[in-house]
Symmetry: C2
Subunit: 226 residues, 2 copies
């Protein structure tokens, strides 16, 4: 009972901070996307491909969540876009307050797109609303086909699933059909993008969809502000 009320407090406080973030994002007219995955599924590699493709046509900034290191923020900064690191220490997810605090260090007013790379974890990040417009999940296909059954909240809450490392599938013993069906059981509607960040396969289809969605979000925001 004590645990339940404690959890309610944490989640209530997070929802308040997320609403506050939402107002800041609206005022800045920036589209915000939260990228989530298990450790080593390829979030940063996907972001590198995505930023390279889109940085000529929109102003992008990145918030990187990591327990300890700036490895990912350094990779992103090397692409010439502003990147701010949130070091979570022992915390296994980003929460809305952490994102709020990072906005003091990253000027979002000049941005069209803010990308948030969450901590590598399939459990808690799904439960913390950051005030984002869009959630994208990266699923490394070589993690095996049953992940959507085992982590249903994450798969259910996402707006798109990028199925990475498909170049390794022929050597992995994982059935793509089974994996695909398991995602669909938990999330019947989200678009799925089979890609290999390593070989580049499927990246164009992902970029085309992502570009369109960001455009839609920004037009809707502009209409609301007008």
């Amino acid at each position: 009972m004590h645990q339940i009320s404690l959890e309610t407090d944490i989640m209530g406080a997070n929802e308040e901070a997320a609403a506050h973030n939402r107002e800041s994002f609206d005022r800045a007219g920036v589209a915000v996307v939260n990228f989530m995955s298990a450790p080593g599924a390829g979030k940063t590699s996907l972001l590198e491909k995505t930023i390279e493709a889109l940085k000529g046509e929109m102003r992008i900034g990145v918030i990187e969540g990591d327990l300890m290191t700036t490895i990912d923020a350094d990779r992103i900064a090397a692409l010439g876009v502003p990147a701010h690191q949130i070091t979570t220490g022992s915390v296994c997810h980003l929460d809305a307050k952490m994102v709020h605090n990072s906005l003091h260090n990253l000027d979002i007013k000049g941005l069209d797109l803010l990308i948030i790379e969450n901590v590598g974890n399939l459990v808690c990040p799904a439960e913390f609303n950051l005030g984002e417009d869009l959630r994208v999940m990266v699923y490394s296909t070589v993690e095996g086909a049953e992940k959507p059954k085992k982590y249903p909240v994450m798969f259910h809450m996402t707006d798109a699933v990028v199925l990475n490392k498909i170049d390794l599938l022929p050597y992995s013993g994982v059935s793509f059909e089974e994996l695909h069906d398991n995602v669909r059981d938990v999330n019947p509607d989200a678009p799925l993008f089979p890609v290999s960040c390593r070989t580049g396969e499927g990246i164009d289809e992902w970029i085309a969809w992502f570009r369109t969605r960001i455009g839609e979000i920004r037009r809707k925001a502009d209409a609301a502000a007008a």
Copy 2:
């Protein structure tokens, strides 16, 4: 400040429960091993190989941690050893109290070895002592070489690291030397076992070490009880 004292309370309560588990394990004369990894690294596959190899020479029981499903517990039970499922719901790790409660459903008095398969997560499981004798981490090599830098607590706290999916390494672009050096930077002493649960490569070396360690733990426990 509030968060810090709360965390201290949780960790203090967990240490108490872990000490209680430790007494139960000692009374039962059972060696207890906590297996941890990221989602899809191959913990259950490694346990299948390990149990198949050892079930003729020791009495094994398994506690399976999973958010929702009994997929892993069913795989283990199919090997003919007792398996008890802890369903954590939205909790991203096992704690000592959950393990304590599961001992009401799994009779450890008749066991030589109790295996605990933790929730797939590289963050929080490392921080919760369950009262175990030994920690083993499974690191899927295709997650990339930098995981020990990004999740140092998990890599530092383990007694052995099983480097799984080495059959995929030639196709993955991951440098085994870099990965190996990164593990060694965080944990200079733990034995490392490159294996493929899929092809069987390296499994014999892992089993030989594990059998010896379990024997040592049980002899030490018997001597202490005498």
